[in-house]
């Protein structure tokens, strides 16, 4: 009887047949004063109780920075000059987003699964009320993606995930130097014929450290002292340069 229930359970949960065991080269990124970006190696293995399926396995890895609302403005010609006319407020767009796959995106993930899990860049941006703000709200989202892709803040790397024996996979995600702080949600999807068979979540912690941390905290927690400190530095620097030049002229 027990064995029968167990079999039933296994049949009822085909998703759990293959699981991800994940490794990260580091789960923390420290932003120091001389931070120039960072490469993170994401690697793992597929743990399974059953034999390897005939249908090849695909892996999709996404890394997403903290999501914040974004205002997208469009310029138009009015009375001969170019001015901002239309505005669309997108509810939440990640500050950084990278998708790496084992093959062309359309082949490794179906549209329905993309819709459900919000994997592709377009789906990762939430814009519920956007359609009411402009007739062609979709073009504002496209513009956001285009602008951020040019800055490497959004990356689509099809075929960048290497997979061996349908079991071991790895990829490297390069985080640019212009990184914002926060928990970077990292997701791994295992798919077969576009359907998700397993999903795994973890976070990479991106934080300012040392002097960067101290200055940032001071500016938020004691803005008065921070402002006075800025002025003191400015006055001191101005005075020192003046004194130094006077000494130079005399000497």
């Amino acid at each position: 009887m027990f064995r029968f229930i167990l079999t039933l359970c296994l049949l009822a949960m085909p998703l759990q047949a293959e699981e991800v065991v994940l490794g990260l080269s580091s789960d923390k990124v420290a932003i120091t004063a001389t931070f120039e970006g960072s490469d993170i190696l994401i690697f793992g293995a597929v743990k399974r109780e059953t034999a390897i399926s005939e249908i090849p396995l695909d892996v999709i890895i996404t890394v997403a920075g903290p999501s914040v609302p974004v205002t997208v403005r469009r310029k138009d010609r009015r009375f001969g000059i170019w001015v901002n006319t239309e505005v669309v407020e997108l509810d939440a767009a990640p500050s950084f987003y990278a998708v790496a796959t084992t093959g062309p995106f359309d082949e490794v993930m179906s549209n329905t699964e993309d819709l459900r899990h919000r994997v592709s860049i377009g789906r990762a941006i939430r814009s519920v009320g956007a359609a009411t703000m402009a007739e062609d709200a979709g073009r504002f989202t496209e513009a956001l993606i285009r602008i951020r892709r040019d800055k490497d803040a959004y990356q689509v790397r099809e075929g960048a995930v290497a997979i061996d024996e349908q079991t071991l996979f790895r990829t490297s995600i390069s985080l640019p130097a212009n990184l914002t702080e926060g928990a970077y949600e990292t997701r791994i999807f295992l798919t077969r014929e576009g359907r998700v068979v397993s999903e795994f979540d973890t976070t990479i912690d991106v934080r300012k450290v040392g002097l960067e941390r101290w200055l940032y905290s001071l500016s938020r927690e004691k803005p008065m002292i921070y402002g006075l400190m800025s002025l003191a530095i400015a006055i001191a620097a101005g005075w020192m340069a003046s004194a130094a030049f006077q000494a130079l002229r005399r000497g």
Binding site: T71, G80, I147, I233
Partner: protein, 304 residues
Amino acid sequence: MQIYLPIAEVSVNAFLLLGLGGIVGILSGMFGVGGGFLMTPLLFFIGIPPAVAVATEANQIVASSFSGVLAHFRRKTVDLRMGTVLLIGGLLGAGLGVFIFNYLKSQGQVDLLVKLCYVVFLGIIGGMMFVESLNAIRNTRRGAAPKRKKHGWVHGLPFKMRFRTSGLYISVIPPLMVGVAVGILAAIMGVGGGFIMVPAMIYLLGMPTKVVVGTSLFQIIFVTAFTTMLHATTNFTVDIALAVLLLVGGVIGAQIGTTIGTRMKAEQLRILLAIMVLAVCGKLGLDLLLMPSELYSLGTGGGH
């Protein structure tokens, strides 16, 4: 060498910032302008968020103006009395300007207004200075004595005050009005206002060019220090790392600029400032007239 800026959250080249600070510092020392109208667009261009650029710029101007004003104090080319009168007017005007700015912000299109303000004022001031100083240079070449304009109505006003350093005995009303007007514009345009103040002092108040530069720097220090504190405590947008990089270049540049300035003739100084103002005006004007390569722009959510 790349430096990550803690408040701006962008990574920039340290030497580029030192260089930018130096160039703007030289101009600041030469002409008595804070350099904000040049530096702020440059910072936008290298990818610093506008809010951080405007706030940090104010802090950097404090440093270069202080450095410059010390050099002018040694030469006794600062009219403290005139500077104080202008400053009182300036602070009143700045308060009024912030009020106007917030009203326009609620009506939308404040960006456009700021740009149009720039183009119109830079164009008028640059053009007027250019023509005037060109004539002055021609006159000195011909050997004619430069004539000082006397404003009759200015001398008829009450509350007369003696400004010894400037060699003026005029009513306090015109300098106070100049201060208020510059303060309003400075608050709307987000700059120290030196490029408006300097021509106003020369042409409206009739002050000698050499005294104008030091006096302008003197009052800019206070206006920008006030702005820095305002930004630091309300918007948290002053980036001290960015400010330090800019001001190291800036204070050195200001000393060099002051030295260059004292060796040049007043007309030459004015014509150079005029050309610079016209160049910035032309660039901003073209931006409005030509079709931009990217029609869309991004901003942080919530803000208009």
